[in-house]
C-alpha cells in the first residue's frame, strides 16, 4: 500500500462513483427503514448504525462533485467538506458496524443497494488511511505471506500429510490437467481440516479429478474486506495464474462466504477480463453431483437441525437451492429459521468484522439476533457453509452459553457417503 492521504481517499471515492451509486444517493429520502434490516441497529437501538448513515462521507463527495446544486453550494461555501476527522469518525461505522451482509439492500423502498455502496466507500477509507488495524494486518499478511492468518504452504502440507496418514485418502497437489482446482480458507486449513478430508472422500466416490495448488490455495481475500481493489486484484491474480498453469476447467470456492464473492463475482472485474475457467461454490458442485447421481449418501440425521445461510453465498452469491437440496439428502428433521435464505440475518462477523479486534464487543452484542433466531427453533444442531460464520457462531454460542454444535455442510455430506464404516 502506498502512503495514504485524504487526497488519495477522495480520489478513490471518485473512482468508485458510477450511475448506480448516483441513483441511490439521489433517491434516499431518509425513511429509516434500512435501520430495521440491520442487526447493528436492531440489537443496539443506536441510530448511528442506520445503514445509509454509514455512507455520509461518500454521499458528500457525490453531492459536492457530481450534482450541479452541490457544486453551487460548494462554491458558495455552503457545504461540509470531507476531512480526515470525518473519515476517522466514520471508520468504525463503515468497518466495525457493517458486515456487507446486504440485508438493507433487500428492503430499501427506493431500491438502494446500500451494501454495494459501503463496499465501494471502503475504497476511499482505506486509501485515506482509515481502516482497522486488524484488517490492515490481515491484508499485509495475505500479500506478503499468502494468507491472512499467516498460513504458509508447509502448514498446509503438514495437514495434508496428517489427513492422508489418518484416512488412507490421497489429496492431490499441483496435478496438471484435472477438472477442478480446490481453494481453501486459512480457517479451514487450521481450524476445520475436516473440510479437506470431506472433499477427498466425496471426490473419490464421485470420480471427480481435482487438485490443490501449492502456489495458490488460499481462497480468502482481505482486499475485498478492507476495500482495496489493488490488494484484492493481487490475491485474485494468484489464483488465476495457478488455475491457468494447472489448466483446470473449474476452480472450487470453499465453504467461505466472502471468498466466493471475491473469486466468483469481483475477481473477473478486478483483473479486467473473464476467466479461462469457471468458478463453482463447493455446494453448487455437490448439488450437481447429487442431481447427476454421482453423490450417493446413506442414512439420515434425525436431530432437529437448521441451516444458517451465509450472506455472501446465499443472498449475495445466489447459491440458494443447493444447501437445502443437500440437507434434504441427509437430514430428516430440518427446519428453517425465521427469515431464511436471502433474508437471513448475518452472524455478525462478515465483511472483515471478524478480523477486526476492535469490533469484538459490538459483534458479540449483535449476535443476539442470531441467538433469538435460534432460541425460537430449539434445534440440536446448526449447519452452515462458511468457515467464518462457523467460527463466529461458535464464539457467540459460547458467549451466550448455548450448547448447539455447529457443523459444516460439506462434512455432514461426507459423513453420509455410501460405503462408509462410520455410519
Amino acid at each position: 500500500m502506498s502512503e495514504a492521504t485524504i487526497e488519495r481517499g477522495l480520489n478513490a471515492f471518485r473512482e468508485q462513483m458510477n450511475a448506480p451509486i448516483a441513483s441511490f444517493f439521489s433517491s434516499c429520502v431518509n425513511c429509516g427503514m434500512c435501520a430495521e434490516a440491520c442487526l447493528f441497529y436492531t440489537e443496539t437501538g443506536d441510530p448511528k448504525y442506520t445503514p445509509i448513515n454509514k455512507l455520509e462521507p461518500f454521499r458528500r463527495v457525490w453531492e459536492q462533485e457530481y450534482t450541479l446544486w452541490g457544486k453551487l453550494k460548494s462554491l458558495l461555501g455552503m457545504s461540509k467538506p470531507v476531512t480526515d476527522e470525518l473519515l476517522e469518525e466514520w471508520e468504525p461505522l463503515v468497518y466495525d458496524a457493517c458486515t456487507l451482509c446486504g440485508r438493507c439492500s433487500m428492503v430499501c423502498p427506493v431500491g438502494n443497494d446500500i451494501s454495494y455502496m459501503i463496499r465501494r466507500a471502503r475504497e476511499g477509507f482505506v486509501a485515506a488511511g482509515y481502516a482497522p488495524e486488524g484488517i490492515k494486518g490481515a491484508s499485509r499478511r495475505a500479500i506478503t505471506i499468502g494468507s491472512p492468518m499467516g498460513v504458509k504452504y508447509p502448514a498446509l502440507a503438514a495437514q495434508i500429510k496428517h489427513i492422508e496418514a489418518d484416512t488412507g485418502l490421497t489429496i492431490p497437489v499441483d496435478v496438471e490437467g484435472v477438472d477442478y482446482m480446490a481453494l481453501l480458507s486459512s480457517m479451514e486449513i487450521m481450524n476445520f481440516p475436516e473440510y479437506m478430508e470431506a472433499l477427498a472422500r466425496i471426490f473419490k466416490q464421485a470420480g471427480v479429478t481435482w487438485t490443490i495448488s501449492s502456489e495458490a490455495f488460499e481462497a480468502t481475500n482481505s482486499g475485498i474486506q478492507i476495500g482495496s481493489s489493488d490488494i484484492a486484484r493481487e490475491l485474485v491474480n494468484r489464483v488465476v495464474v495457478a488455475a491457468d498453469k494447472l489448466k483446470v476447467k473449474y476452480v472450487i470456492s470453499p465453504e467461505c462466504g466472502h471468498a466466493y464473492t471475491a473469486i466468483r463475482w469481483e475477481g473477473p472485474n478486478l483483473i479486467g477480463r473473464p476467466y479461462n475457467f469457471k468458478v463453482v461454490h463447493i455446494l453448487e458442485l455437490l448439488d450437481e453431483l447429487r442431481a447427476s447421481g454421482r453423490l450417493k449418501t446413506e442414512g439420515m440425521e434425525d436431530d432437529r437441525l437448521t441451516f444458517h445461510d451465509p450472506c455472501q453465498i446465499v443472498r449475495k452469491g445466489g447459491v440458494l437451492e443447493p444447501p437445502r437440496n443437500l440437507l434434504n439428502m441427509v437430514a430428516s428433521n430440518f427446519v428453517d429459521m425465521q427469515d431464511p435464505r436471502e433474508m437471513n440475518w448475518c452472524c455478525g462477523g462478515g465483511g472483515g468484522v471478524s478480523a477486526n479486534e476492535r469490533a469484538e464487543e459490538l459483534r458479540i452484542k449483535v449476535f443476539k439476533r442470531k441467538k433469538s433466531q435460534l432460541d425460537d427453533l430449539n434445534v440440536d444442531t446448526l449447519v452452515t457453509a462458511c468457515a467464518n460464520c462457523r467460527l463466529i457462531i461458535e464464539e457467540g454460542l459460547e458467549e451466550y452459553r448455548m450448547e448447539i454444535p455447529v457443523v459444516g455442510l460439506t462434512e455432514m455430506i461426507a459423513e453420509h457417503l455410501v460405503d462408509e464404516k462410520s455410519e
Binding site: 462513483m17 458510477n18 450511475a19 448506480p20 451509486i21 448516483a22 441513483s23 441511490f24 439521489s26 433517491s27 434516499c28 429520502v29 431518509n30 425513511c31 429509516g32 427503514m33 430495521e36 434490516a37 441497529y41 436492531t42 437501538g45 441510530p47 448511528k48 442506520t50 448513515n53 457530481y66 450534482t67 450541479l68 446544486w69 439492500s105 433487500m106 428492503v107 430499501c108 423502498p109 427506493v110 431500491g111 438502494n112 443497494d113 454495494y116 466468483r264 463475482w265 469481483e266 475477481g267 473477473p268 472485474n269 479486467g272 477480463r273 473473464p274 476467466y275 469457471k278 468458478v279 443472498r315 449475495k316 452469491g317 445466489g318 447459491v319 440458494l320 427469515d339 436471502e342 433474508m343
Partner: protein
C-alpha cells in the same frame, strides 16, 4: 389581480422551465456516469430481474412492514392521496388539458376533498414521526424538512382555496399556485428527485442481484 395573473402566467412558466430542465440535468448527471462492464459470468439475466424489482419494491418486505408499519402505511396514504388530488381533481385535469392537451375523467370533488383531508393529516403525522422517531430524527436535516414543507403547502393551500377559507378567493388561489411553483422549483435540487430516480435505483439493485441469481 396582478398577483394571480403573475403566478398563472410568467411565474408558472418560469417554474415549469426550471422543473423540466432541472430534472433533465439531474437524470443526465446520474446516467452519464454509467458503470464499468461486468466480466463475471452471469447466473441470471439483468434486464428482467431489474424490471421486476422496479415493481416489487412497491410492496414492503414482510419483516420490514412489521418493524416499520407507520412509515409504510403513512407513506402509502400520503403518496396515493397526493396523486389522487393532483391528477383526479377536475380543475387540475382542465389545467393539464389546456397546457398539453391531455384529458381523463376526474372524480367527484367532495371525494377529492375527503382524500385531501386525509393526505394533510397523514403528512402532519409523517412530520411528527420524523421529529420523534429516533432514526428519522437522527438522519433528518434541513433538506428533509424543506421537502416536507414544499410538499405540504400545495395540499394546505389547495384545501384552503377549495373551502374559500381565505378572502379574497384570487389571493388564496394565487397562493395555491405559487406553492405548486415553489414545489416545482425546489424539486430538481432536492431529494424530491427520488420520484424519478427510484426507478433507476430499483433497476440497478434488481439487475445486479439478478445477475447473481437472486431476486432482490
Amino acid at each position: 389581480m396582478d398577483f394571480l395573473l403573475w403566478v398563472r402566467g410568467p411565474g408558472f412558466d418560469i417554474a415549469l422551465v426550471v422543473f423540466l430542465i432541472g430534472i433533465l440535468i439531474r437524470l443526465l448527471e446520474v446516467l452519464i456516469l454509467g458503470r464499468k462492464p461486468d466480466y463475471s459470468e452471469p447466473r441470471g439475466a439483468e434486464l428482467g430481474a431489474g424490471l421486476r424489482t422496479v415493481l416489487t419494491r412497491t410492496l414492503p418486505e414482510q419483516g420490514s412492514f412489521k418493524r416499520s408499519p407507520f412509515t409504510v402505511v403513512g407513506g402509502y396514504v400520503w403518496h396515493i392521496g397526493f396523486f389522487i388530488t393532483l391528477f383526479l381533481f377536475v380543475p387540475h385535469i382542465e389545467l393539464i388539458n389546456a397546457t398539453i392537451g391531455l384529458s381523463w375523467p376526474g372524480i367527484a370533488s367532495n371525494l377529492i376533498d375527503a382524500v385531501a383531508a386525509v393526505t394533510i393529516v397523514a403528512l402532519l403525522a409523517m412530520l411528527f414521526n420524523r421529529l420523534s422517531h429516533p432514526v428519522k430524527q437522527f438522519l433528518s436535516g434541513p433538506e428533509d424538512y424543506l421537502t416536507w414543507l414544499v410538499t405540504f403547502l400545495p395540499m394546505l393551500t389547495g384545501y384552503l382555496a377549495y373551502h374559500r377559507m381565505i378572502d379574497p378567493y384570487p389571493l388564496v388561489l394565487g397562493l395555491h399556485i405559487l406553492s405548486v411553483e415553489l414545489l416545482m422549483v425546489v424539486f430538481p435540487f432536492t431529494k424530491l428527485m427520488h420520484a424519478f430516480t427510484f426507478i433507476i435505483a430499483r433497476w440497478y439493485n434488481g439487475a445486479m442481484a439478478g445477475r447473481r441469481g437472486v431476486q432482490s
